[in-house]
Symmetry: C2
Subunit: 227 residues, 2 copies
Amino acid sequence: MMQSETASIQVLTTVDVVVLTLVDGVLSVVLVQRERAPFAGVWALPGGYIHAQEDADAHASAARVLRSKAGIEDAYLEQLATFSGPARDPRGWSVAISYCALIPQQKLPTPRQGLKMVPVAATGQLPFDHGQILQAALARVRSKSQYSSLPVHFFGESFTLPQLQQVYESILGEPLNKVSFRRKMDELGMLEPVPGQMQAGGAHRPAQLHRVRPEFRQQLALSARGL
Amino acid sequence: MMQSETASIQVLTTVDVVVLTLVDGVLSVVLVQRERAPFAGVWALPGGYIHAQEDADAHASAARVLRSKAGIEDAYLEQLATFSGPARDPRGWSVAISYCALIPQQKLPTPRQGLKMVPVAATGQLPFDHGQILQAALARVRSKSQYSSLPVHFFGESFTLPQLQQVYESILGEPLNKVSFRRKMDELGMLEPVPGQMQAGGAHRPAQLHRVRPEFRQQLALSARGL
DNA sequence: CAAATAGTGTCTGTAAGACAATATATG
DNA sequence: CATATATTGTCTTACAGACACTATTTG
């Protein structure tokens, strides 16, 4: 009954990161061009091996991969799920701890060779099981946007409530009631107006700029009943 | 910038399973006594290495561990989160893909040497980071019980609505409105009365037995607005 | 002032909870 | 029939969405 307690075949341990951002209001994912086999030259999610010598945990591995392969720092990063099996990577039985990162467009690195942002609906076929990982990330973001402040991580320092509502609507794929949305944001208590600042713009009343209160910077605000 | 793409230090890949059940209405966790170092003789969550030779994925590893180390079959099983780092296991840098299992008391194996059920509040200190994994499982179950049918997996074939409500209340730690609870269960549409059967019992009206509709057996029913 | 969008007040419908009446067992 | 719990009906309250009104900017 009790089998040997040694892992007799090496299991590859990797991290893959789904970096999401809004490019002109369109939910997009960061892809990098793979430099080596398997799938050399193919566009894929940024990923790589865990480096046991230097990584404090898989979260640190994901942050390192993000920095070294996509030039991204300071993204909001949360663990998604872990994918595994003998077939997902042609090199052998592998474990991929996947992470989801949200980052404002302004924090993206300058576009360069081997790095691009693609609307999530237009990635085409992705190597490994990266298509499945991307779908898991989208499901997570849509689900969490229904009851939490997750989408604020798509913005930088400050933003207006109409902008924020547009992002929620874009992610959820449905229009939201303006009054209810503002009531909810008020109840969550995570935003504060940036004193005196308004957004310049068109021939109309300018909107008040808001920012996330410091105590919510690295933490999500959750709503009991959604929105 | 681009570092070597080989995992130069072996990473241990394991699964750990938090098996939850209700023992006389008290939420309890299955612990097994470890047979070998590290922590030989200590009570811990059932866990073990991934066996790349035989496991189709980590989910299969978890099911195998459950069968071989705790004698449990056919539990509801879902992935929880993945814990990792150099310190959580004294053998070295390790990855533990954790799973949460729910099982009715009747399906538990006959108690035997090296296997016990402990109320979740009374486990005491657990080895590795199993305390943290247990807390993640409890948070998951409580969270999902607020808006899904997750707790039905604590029951076997059939159960009454008052029994089910008691379980929800026990998990959530607060009393629920009887009328609202029944309205919600009705809306979810996942239960059906077992024709003609009632539960025998005390000196009072017996409750109608219900069961999960076949199409919801391996899938949770989700509510839009909670409960 | 006309146009355009921001922000707010208020009404209405829906859904959740309180309360209570009815139903059906046992002794 | 007294008692105990199951089940259902109905009233009340709270909240979400619809609608419309006010506010503030540019040209």
